[in-house]
Each structure stands twice: as C-alpha cells, then as structure tokens.
C-alpha cells in the first residue's frame, strides 16, 4: 500500500509545489491538500479541502482519510504578509491543531515534515557566522515572526517527544530565491535600486526553490527525523547579490529600523523588519547535517541568486506567465466523474 499524504497550505507556493512533486511519486497513493485558498497550480490527483486558517476540522480529516504522512508546509515566515493576529492563528494555533489531530490514539501518522525557517536563529551582532541545528541563539527573540516560529517548533518538539514511533523532521529553510517564488527579498532585488543598510554589507545565504522541494521529498523518502538546516553552500555579501542582479544599492539609515520598516511599507516597498535585520547582520546556516544524511544541493547560494537574476531578465522581456486558475467543478469532474478514464493514482 502506498503512502497517504496530507499537505497543509496547498494554496501557498510551497504547498502547491510539494503536492506536484508528490503526484509524480508513484509510491504516493493519496494526497490531500488543505488551505483557506484555492490551489494556485495545476494538480492532477490531489484532493483539495477548504479549511479555516487554524485548521479546526483537522482531526476529522485525519481520521477520515487515515493519512500516514503529514507535510506541514504552511507557516507564515513573512511578517508583512498577514496581520500579527492571523500569523499567530496560522502558525501557532494551526500547528497545535495539526499535532492534536495527528496524535489521536488511532492516528496512523508515521511521518511528519515541518517547514520552518532559519529565522528562528535571528540575526544580531552577537551571532556566530554559521548556525548549526544545535547552536543556541545568543540573543533573545525580539521579532514577532521569530517568536511565532519558535513557539511552533516547541509544539513540534513536544509531539516528537511524545510520539517516538513517528519520524518528525523539522526543516529550517534559508532565504529562498529562484525562478518563480516571490518574497520580500525577491521584491527588493526587483526594485530599480536595491535597499541596503548604510555602513553594513552582511553575508547572506540562499537556497534555490527547487532544492526546497527536493529537500522535503528527500526527508519524506528517507523518513529521516530530526532538525535540519536547508541552505545553499556559501555566503555572499548583499552588495554582491545586488551586483549579480545588475542593480545598484540605495542605503537606508542604520538606526531606527522599526521606523524605516514601517515607513517603507507605507510607501509600498515590502520591507519587513526581519529583512532589515538580515540586511544589517546577515545569517549563515550550517547545511552539513542534511548533506551527511545523503542530500545534495543542485544550487549554491550564489547559484540561486544567478537563477533568480536570469529569470528576472527573462520576465523583463516576456512578462510573467498567466497564472493557473482553480475551477472547483472542473477539478471535481476530472477527479471523480466515471466518464474520465484514470490509469494512475490510487485506482491503478
């Protein structure tokens, strides 16, 4: 019998990408995707279930579908994306409900992957150049998004401790860049002048979007369990990142970061506070543990930046491709109508 996988945040970039990768895997029988929003990518056999932001009906879904694998890909890691309240609901309450559902006595869940972020290490002047999975962060977390993710990781740890028979993998991803993903960093690098903090040129690290999905699939395939940093090899100065993208820097004042962040946001520049901190002190995550487990990256940090820059140049000429639009009835027809001949998936 193949795997039955539950993906949270199907409508998000990562949920959609992971579901696509799972669909391509013949060992996966059933894929169920949850989200408040409809999927943004075309999916052939993933079942989409609309839920509220804190996943309150999750235990019923887990029970009814008898999933054995959970991919928790929907954690908010960008504080400008949603309100603080919503971030708390989605990250902390959502995760709590997910693990409550997964730890029911008759739960069949045997493998859980959580997509967290290297934001949990913070970015301060007291940091080491490289954070390993076990490095204790030197400074108290001041940012809301960092505290939120740390709280989530607390639930993950508790669940792992209470359920030793489940392989719980916590992946901490570095800053993602690539052809398609849109983040505050990719937006900053698309501006005519790239924001930088005056008097600082920190080293930053990137991971290519392809490596993100590959890492999730790798961890699933091997049921690894444990904490892993996922980040490309090497650190490069922010000025070099801008240079690769063919952009000049526009210095921001090195004081009053909170004021600068909110002023820029009001001007329409998506500059969350955690990005300004990153552009001041930088951050490096030691990626050796996942490599030792057998994973190999397709892209280095610099490679991810190059991939992004090339895609940006192409888009500058031909524009963004038309987005896929989810049509509930059409999707239901293809999945469930007896008229459709299905030669793969669970029925095969």
């Amino acid at each position: 019998m193949g795997r039955r996988v539950l993906v949270t945040g199907l409508g998000s970039f990562w949920g959609g990408r992971v579901a696509q990768a799972l669909e391509a895997d013949p060992a996966v029988d059933v894929i169920i995707g949850l989200d408040t929003r409809e999927p943004g990518v075309q999916l052939d056999r993933t079942e989409y279930v609309r839920v509220d932001e804190s996943y309150s009906i999750l235990s019923r879904i887990v029970q009814a579908t008898q999933v054995d694998t959970v991919v928790h890909s929907f954690l908010v890691v960008d504080s400008n994306q949603v309100s603080p309240r919503q971030m708390h609901e989605t990250n902390v309450i959502g995760t709590m409900n997910l693990f409550a559902a997964a730890s029911q006595p008759d739960s069949r869940v045997r493998s859980v992957v959580v997509k967290s972020s290297t934001l949990v290490y913070g970015s301060t002047h007291a940091d080491p150049v490289w954070f390993s999975e076990d490095t204790r962060r030197p400074a108290f977390p001041r940012l809301r998004v960092e505290r939120s993710l740390l709280e989530v990781e607390g639930y993950v740890r508790d669940y792992a401790a209470d359920n030793p028979h489940v392989a719980v993998s916590l992946l901490r991803f570095s800053n993602v860049l690539g052809e398609d993903i849109v983040t505050p960093i990719s937006k900053a690098l698309s501006l005519p002048l790239v924001p930088a903090v005056f008097g600082y040129d920190p080293r930053v690290q990137f991971v290519h979007e392809v490596d993100v999905v590959r890492a999730i699939m790798f961890v699933l395939a091997h049921d690894l369990g444990g904490i892993f940093n996922v980040a490309g090899d090497g650190l490069l100065p922010w000025s070099e990142v801008a240079a690769i993208c063919g952009k000049r820097l526009a210095p921001l004042p090195p004081v009053g970061r909170k004021t600068v962040a909110s002023a820029l946001t009001r001007l329409g520049v998506d500059m969350p506070l955690e990005l300004i901190e990153l552009l001041t002190y930088g951050r490096g995550a030691d990626n050796r543990r996942l490599k030792q487990a057998g994973f190999s990256y397709e892209h280095t940090s610099a490679g991810a930046v190059h991939a992004f820059a090339e895609a940006a140049r192409l888009r500058g000429t031909v524009g963004r491709p038309r987005a896929y639009r989810y049509e509930r009835d059409v999707e239901a027809f293809f999945r469930h109508s007896p008229a459709v001949v299905r030669d793969r998936g669970s029925g095969a």
Binding site: V129, W130, D134, L170, L224, I227, L235, L236
Partner: protein, 319 residues
C-alpha cells in the same frame, strides 16, 4: 583529567529524535570518547569539509569569504599600511620563526593604546612575511558600528564566538589572533601601562583545547605609548555604547587630529614558545581548573616577557 565529561552531556535537548549519521560526523566524537588524540592537527575527514570552499563557486563576483574577509581589500590596505609599519612604528619581531607555516594556531597578545595599533601590526607582519591569512577575533562592539564593522570584517576580523573560533582553528586550520584582555587592555590608564589585565574567563584556552591547536603567546612593547589614555569619560562612553571613551595624550598634543594619529613609538613583538595543550580535542567540556591554570600561566609568561623587554628598552621612540 580534563576529559571526564561524556560527549553527550553537551548535546542539547533540541534534537528531536535520533538522527542517523551514515558516516562522517560521528567519527570525531568516537575518537574523542576513546581518548584518542588522533586528528590532532590533521584536517577533518573528506566528507566533513566546510560548506564553502573559497573560490570554488565560479558564480561568485567578489572574493569575500564566509568570514567577510577579502584578500583583494587586504592587499590594498597592506600597500597603505606598509609605510606606517616600516617607518612610523618600525615594527621589529623576535622569534618570528616560531610562528607555524601551516596548521591552526591561536595567537594571544597583550593589547594596548586607545586605538590599538598592535592588532594591525601583528596581522600585517604575519600576512606579509609568512604569507598566511590572520583572522582576528573581536568583541561584538565592532559588529554594531556602521562602516567599522564592514572594514573590520573585510580585513580579517571575526566575531569572537566559540563556534567561529572552532571552525577557523579546527576545520580550516587557520591562524587566529585574540586579545584575552578584551577591551580592558586598551581601556586602561597610562599609569597602568604594561600591567596585564585579567585574561577574561580563559575562553581562549578552552577554544584551543577543543580545536586541538597550540597557543602562541606574543609580547608587544610600544603599543602602550602609541596612544596613551590620560583620562576617561565614562558618561560619554555610556552614551555612545562604547567600552571606554578616552582623552589621549595625542589629543592634548595634536588637538582633534590626535583622536586618530598615533605617536611613533617603536614597536617590538616577541614570539614566545608555543604552548601545546596536552588534552584530546573535541571534548564538550574541559576541567575548569586546568583552563584557569593554563590561562594564568600564559598571562604570567607574557607579563614576565614584557618586563624583560622593558628592562632592555632604552627609549620609547628608538627602542
């Protein structure tokens, strides 16, 4: 014995469940557990190399390494600093051949002068005459100040974090310099010149033990007189967030320019015999008494050497 604590003791509870390590990482721990001192100076196993091999990534545009150091900028600075080194401070070394041509080593020295001229002189001398990069570990004060942090890190400064030191010394076998007195050294009054302050909490000894590298003490004479502190303004220091805000003799003589221009004191650097720490590397913890004893021994050795050098010095300016 120094290595009584089990290596597992330091493993934080953060690890969720047992993480399988097919090979590699376990080796060092196993070796440490059995008390073996193999791999003392040899680099780590091939599967365990650093995430970044400088220059290996062909997509890079600059030569800034993972520590923020740029050889290119270092070379430019060397051309500017060399006249100062040769003709202003007229730096002279004794026992230069005791510095290792390869392998990691931790250099410790006395630290003095409101803006200490000892650090750039040591780094310049070794990089020029030994042809090896030197990384200087420093307080996070450097990392907090705009522009200063940038210059400092491009020229080889690294945040003094134990993980950074371990990686530089153990995994990359680099030459690392540290001033165990911290800001207490340069921040002291001129009347206390050449009186070594407390050597922190002996962290530098612990780092050298973990990394399995020798400690090379350096004694420097002349740095105290380059920028002597005659008074301190604690309220200003507090307001600026600096460890000390001095009034220097240079300011009294040269006016505002004196804030930056050092006196041309003759600088002499003596390299002491390397101290090899006879303990297995990679232990999670070492005996506190052993650390403090070694730290005190090294401090004492540098202090004695300073007295010897001062007793032979005829003039502050000509040496």
């Amino acid at each position: 014995m120094a290595a009584e604590k089990s290596p597992g003791a330091r493993q934080p509870r953060r690890k969720l469940v047992a993480v399988p390590h097919p090979d590699g990482e376990g080796d060092a721990r196993v070796a440490a557990e059995s008390g073996a001192t193999a791999a003392d100076t040899s680099p780590r196993a091939p599967g365990d190399t650093a995430p970044e091999e400088p220059g290996a990534d062909a997509l890079r545009l600059s030569d800034v390494d993972e520590w923020g150091r740029s050889q290119h900028l270092r070379d430019i600075l060397a051309r500017l600093y060399d006249p100062l080194y040769e003709h202003w401070f007229r730096v002279e070394w004794e026992g230069f051949d005791k510095l290792p041509r390869e392998g990691g080593a931790l250099m410790v020295a006395n630290h003095a002068g409101a803006i200490p001229a000892d650090a750039p002189s040591i780094m310049h001398g070794i990089e020029r005459d030994l042809g090896r990069a030197v990384y200087g570990l420093a307080d996070d004060v450097f990392k907090r100040i705009p522009l200063v942090n940038l210059g400092w890190s491009r020229l080889g400064g690294v945040q003094a974090h134990p993980d950074n030191a371990y990686r530089l010394l153990r995994e990359q076998q680099q030459l690392v310099m540290v001033f165990p007195e911290g800001s207490k050294g340069p921040g002291k009054h001129y009347s206390e010149r050449y009186q070594l302050r407390r050597f922190g909490r002996g962290g530098f000894v612990q780092i050298a033990m973990r990394a399995g590298v020798p400690i090379i003490p350096l004694a420097i004479v002349g740095n105290e007189e380059t920028m002597p502190i005659v008074a301190k303004i604690p309220t200003l220091a507090k307001a600026l967030g600096l460890p000390y805000a001095p009034i220097t003799a240079n300011m009294l003589v040269l006016g505002p320019l004196g804030a930056l221009i050092p006196f041309p004191a003759k600088m002499r650097i003596r390299v002491l015999d390397p101290v090899h720490l006879d303990v297995p590397p990679d232990q999670p913890r070492y005996s506190r008494s052993r650390i403090m004893d070694t730290s005190e021994d090294i401090r004492h050795a540098i202090q004695e050497e300073l007295y010897d050098m001062l007793s032979r010095r005829h003039s502050v300016w000509t040496g």
